[in-house]
Symmetry: C2
Subunit: 360 residues, 2 copies
């Protein structure tokens, strides 16, 4: 019997995933050369589908990386000479900050307690910060920063580069790429694929910065997956190293399926399911939403406090063939995390909530 | 109709690949958490199978990376303070050298013309070089450096760290890991998998060096996939970032299949098929082995000069459902590359040679 995964990534595979995987087997996608026209067509197709889905303009390239964590490093190496600024409100936004320190950048931090989120009005960007790094969705704490707030902040600090972590929310956030210089996500979250591919969206402005930094004798922007080299290969829809061709193919197919539904409908379905879950958490004994402020509540990774020990709740739900995530790190004992990705339907969510009610 | 791929990677999938892929679908491997016991068991299993197959001792860890190209950078960042030394005899060994320059290391080079290989006696390692980087198998030119020669060189320069690129030959080379500090490969070559996973084998000595470099105030060993962090997570068979869980699972299964055959038999089969191919190239009008010196001829990526324009040969072979690789870079016009990986049987090789004979 197969389980339904409500885990925040790796997560439930998108319903069409296995069918696309079978097609890829039939078409021998795993064997084709990454220097062939067939591959260039695949990259182009996936690029087009992602552009449509996320409304990405021609000013931005789309690159395929090993993981979103790799993007943290690439962004800092390629776009920060001295100083970066990090809005930290959970473990993943903190790791971006930690990477900056490991790379010997001067990293500023603005921090909120776990479970709280940022609004534009809260934030003063330091004068010499070159990059503002923030998470649209904090996978660890279930906190979001609304795109309107992100856009407002960028308008106030228009000279700074803005990089948005949307690892566990894309394609949900409606980012305006005339304001956002870079964003990135992983495919094992809301795109319903296995882990093993990061997607990096990058503007011309970032590329120009990297090219400038590369001129400095004392400076290295790294060797692998640098922006100038990624950009050069992107001109012909190729990649510098052999990429995960199969996953790029599958991502294009799933993005196309989401485009058939339409991004507005996908977002509306996400919000409806989130409303259903938060309402349940507020009204049901044994549960409460962890994030207090409604505007900061993630629509895609929902964190709940449990009255019973969380591992008992998780175990009891699992008996009914459903897997929910544990709380992050030290929050394992009293929290569960419920992913609300396009791969799980309102009906499946309803079934989960029924079960949670029985066992809470 | 499906084709048989004799391309040097991505390549023909291992005959059991699709069956393991189906099992992974049934077991929902794409959805399991990388922080679960199930994942730790998978990592441990793949680690054990690779250890058996490649005879890797407990002094060495095995890490999973985005690609082999990523390993070039990690090796240089983590194990070279100032100076590296590169044996360059083709495009991929040159890229390792290029990476060292991009990272502002002082990189020495010893170079051979395209199609020629190194023996230990040819090589003087510069006094202050910390790392000797060499390719067991140059995918671009079809040249190998025999393990006995690699070992001989290391014995002469025992204080230097040796890092062996076996991207397109592992598990073929019988490396002695009491001598070799680090080696790496990609799964889309001789392991018969789709691209998207690099494997990095690293000794304690490399780890100690990385830890030492990390102490220096002025020095960064990078932020992503650093040796100290990889090693720490490896203690519990975990990874710092979400890895390609599915491919790690599949690699373990294919390594196990190769272990069932036995590494000695796998190597012998490889050598027999290589002998068959080289003999054909020497005896058949229209073809000649590109690499003159027999001891430098790769057993896994065989480069042939063609009398007819290479693209005509490739096209004519393709009509019979077989795909051979084109020559690398500027050698496209007069060369083909034939991969000789475990995924293709002696019978399939025979069929390819028959066809090549007809169309040469």
């Amino acid at each position: 019997m197969s389980n339904t995964y409500f885990t925040p990534g790796p997560a439930e595979l998108y319903p069409t995933f296995n069918q696309h995987l079978q097609t890829s087997v039939n078409e021998q996608i795993g064997s084709i050369s990454h220097r062939s026209q067939r591959f260039r067509d695949i990259y182009k197709y996936t690029d087009e589908q992602l552009r449509t889905l996320l409304n990405i303009p021609a000013t931005h390239d789309i690159y395929f990386m090993g993981s979103a964590s790799e993007v943290w490093e690439r962004m800092l190496l390629n776009c920060v000479e001295h100083e970066s600024f990090h809005l930290v409100n959970g473990s993943f936004s903190r790791k971006f900050y930690d990477y900056a320190q490991s790379l010997r950048k001067f990293a500023y931090i603005a921090e909120k307690p776990f479970g709280e989120g940022f609004d534009a009005a809260d934030v003063d960007v330091p004068e010499y910060a070159e990059l503002v790094a923030l998470a649209h969705n904090e996978t660890s704490s279930g906190v979001q920063m609304r795109p309107t707030e992100i856009h407002k902040l960028k308008r106030k600090y228009s000279k700074k580069l803005f990089c948005v972590d949307m690892v566990s929310s894309a394609p949900y956030p409606d980012l305006d790429y005339s304001l956002i210089d870079s964003a990135f996500f992983s495919v094992q979250k809301a795109f319903g694929m296995p882990a093993g591919l990061g997607v990096w969206i990058v503007s011309e402005t970032c590329l120009e910065k990297a090219e400038r930094l590369q001129q400095y004798d004392s400076m290295t922007i790294g060797a692998h997956h640098t922006l100038p080299v990624l950009h050069k290969h992107y001109q012909t829809f190729e990649t510098p190293a052999t990429p995960n061709v199969l996953f790029i193919y599958l991502l294009g197919k799933i993005a196309a399926d989401l485009n058939k539904i339409g991004i507005n409908a996908v977002r509306k379905q996400t919000e409806e399911k989130a409303r259903q879950i938060y309402k349940f958490l507020e009204q049901t004994d044994g549960y409460a939403p962890f994030v207090n402020e409604e505007r900061h509540r993630s629509q895609t990774v929902i964190v709940a406090n449990t009255t019973r020990p969380a591992n008992e709740v998780i175990g009891a739900v699992k008996e009914a063939g459903m897997i929910v995530g544990s709380g992050y790190g030290k929050h394992k004992e009293g929290q569960i995390r419920i992913a609300n990705f396009p791969a799980t339907s309102a009906e499946q969510v309803g079934k989960l909530l029924d079960r949670l009610k029985q066992v809470g």
